[in-house]
């Protein structure tokens, strides 16, 4: 019986070939949009996860919380900086492999006869390499542990700050001391820590130069990734106690950063799929429209089938199968188009991102889940949008239908 219904449905669809194809195309486009956007989202998810998970044993402690900058009259104010006491507290915590710091301050820089104030950052070479691992270098290389008077500079320091461009090996005077440029960071795209106007030197050079050790950030590595979260909490509480403030410091694990980024991408993905779903809703209205027209045209046929013994269920089933055939065929074509569509979308996105020079490797990933989802959605759309036309067809009285011209 079911096979007969399918046969009848196929015959009807073929009888109205061009209309069937157009309706099917509507569904195909909707499914294509969903498949390619899901693939793109999954690709982003994995690219970000891959980059950040190599840092999963890292904890970053920063001076978060309220308004130290409003007190910061003379720059030397230690209101916003960590103290040696904080470092000592951290070093007593169990499970920490290493601690390093990032120092912040300002200096007077001179190049090619022009002088300007720049903010300076001091950190150990190892920490630097870790933090900027995902950053491409425009030129040169990172300085090494033990190197003296070498700096890394951001793209806009090299090209926009002074009258002349600075290249690798270039000499900048900072507070009267000579420094050589070891490497220049690539221009920052979107996302990540901005490095465009950074001047990076070793902690030792920084202390020698400024006579200060204003610790703005502390990097920790833990032995066991699973302890990272609890260690972060312990440290945050201890430092806050040192400073007598509830929100002086924020200790963030890479895992929690990862989670935040994943959540953001997840939301982005949801929004994209939501937009794609609009196409699907329009397509399902298309199916309903086609089916209703078909029911009207076949009023007589429906009457005949009822007269020769078709039940309400037979008629319902014939029309619902028609709708499902349309939408599932459209779904399959949409999945195939989606594979190509996601590649195309990625190429477009990559060409945007390469302008920013990001090292971010984006590849579309089509998961089994998204394919299953697409098939399920198209089947459901088929059933839902043919339900009303089918009910309308089944409800027809055979007398009226046979008499209908």
């Amino acid at each position: 019986m079911f096979r007969d219904h399918v046969k009848l449905a196929i015959k009807n669809l073929r009888h109205r070939m061009s209309r069937s194809l157009l309706t099917l195309l509507g569904i195909a486009i909707g499914i294509m949009a969903i498949i390619s956007l899901l693939a793109l989202g999954e690709g982003m998810q994995q690219a970000v996860t891959g980059e950040l998970s190599s840092l999963s044993d890292v904890i970053i402690v920063s001076t978060g919380g309220g308004g130290f900058s409003s007190f910061g009259g003379g720059g030397g104010s230690n209101g916003g900086y960590f103290t040696q006491r904080d470092i000592a507290v951290i070093e007593r915590v169990q499970g920490i492999k290493e601690v390093s710091t990032q120092l912040s301050g300002v200096g007077l820089a001179e190049y090619n006869g022009k002088t300007t104030i720049l903010s300076l950052t001091g950190m150990d070479a190892a920490v630097m390499k870790l933090q900027y691992a995902s950053q491409t270098l425009d030129a040169g290389e990172f300085f090494n542990e033990g190197d003296q008077n070498k700096i890394m500079i951001g793209y806009s320091i090299a090209h926009d700050t002074f009258d002349a461009d600075i290249s690798v090996g270039g000499r900048i005077k900072i507070n009267g001391e000579k420094f050589f440029v070891s490497g220049i960071f690539g221009k920052q795209g979107f996302g990540g820590v901005s490095s465009d106007s950074i001047v990076l030197m070793s902690s030792r050079d920084f202390q020698k130069l400024t006579g200060q050790s204003n610790i703005s950030l502390i990097y920790l590595r833990v032995y066991n990734v699973n302890d990272a979260e609890s260690i972060a909490t312990t440290i945050q509480n201890a430092i806050n106690q040192n400073h007598g403030k509830k929100d002086f410091a924020t200790a963030t694990t890479m895992t929690s950063i990862l989670q935040t980024v994943q959540n953001i991408i997840g939301i982005l993905q949801l929004v994209l799929v939501g937009i794609a779903s609009i196409a699907l809703v329009v397509a399902s209205i298309g199916i309903m429209n086609t089916m209703l027209t078909s029911v009207m045209e076949r009023t007589r046929e429906i009457g005949i089938m009822k007269a020769i013994g078709a039940t309400t269920r037979d008629i319902m089933s014939i029309f619902i199968i028609e709708g499902m055939l349309l939408s599932s065929l459209g779904g399959v074509i949409g999945i195939i188009l989606g594979v190509f569509g996601s590649q195309a979308l990625t190429l477009i996105l990559r060409s945007f991102m390469s302008m920013g020079g990001g090292a971010f490797q984006l590849n579309p990933i089509i998961t089994i889940t998204s394919v299953v989802l697409a098939v399920a959605v198209s089947l459901i759309v088929g059933v839902l949008s043919s339900l009303y036309p089918a009910w309308k067809a089944a409800r027809m009285s055979p007398i009226e239908a046979v008499r209908y011209e």
């Binding site: 015959k11 005949i304 007269a307 020769i308 078709a310 309400t312």
Partner: protein, 235 residues
Amino acid sequence: MEKTAEGIMSKDVIVTQNVSKTYGKPPLQVYALRETNLQIKQGDYIAIIGPSGSGKSTLMNLLGCLDKPTSGNIFIDGSDVSTLNENELARIRREKIGFIFQKYNLIPTLNALENVELSMGFAGVDSQVRTEKAKKLLEMVELSKRLTHKPSEMSGGEQQRVAIARALANSPSIILADEPTGNVDTKSGDNIMNILEEVNRKGETIIVVTHNMAIAQRAKRVLRIQDGVVQEGHV
């Protein structure tokens, strides 16, 4: 194979008791059929005649279980069909009744063979058995060479013969033909009536609605209907 023996003739296939069909509500009620009492025996060959608007179609629809009476009872093969629901009526239609319409009413997307098979499909007949039987029926109406032709590729007379084959597919108790020759030329019409009479000789009950007196004359019994009242009549 003469089955017109008196023994078989004695069985009633259709009995109507005080069947009325009205449209609208009092006082604007219109009677399409009034207090009709009929007895139709197996193997009968009946012509129903009457002017248009007399209630012929209403009677056809009621006897064919396409419609329910407003009052009274209709028995088909002994079971009361006036109380049945939609699906039970569909079952009666497919098991007991074969329809032949003036405009053939074949399904345009199906070929001759598939059209004949369709009602057997609704009855759940196995697909091999069904094809076998459909071929035999089409052979009987001399359309063996037209099995894969769509209705649009056949003449009116041929389409009507496919419709006869379809009506016979589920071996019904009654064949209801509504102006079966109304849309075909005289020669084809004669051919169609010959086939129906052949079927009748084999024991099938035939009811033909017509206003063609020549057709009505060929029947064994004539019912005349006027203003919703049915009477035994003469041509």
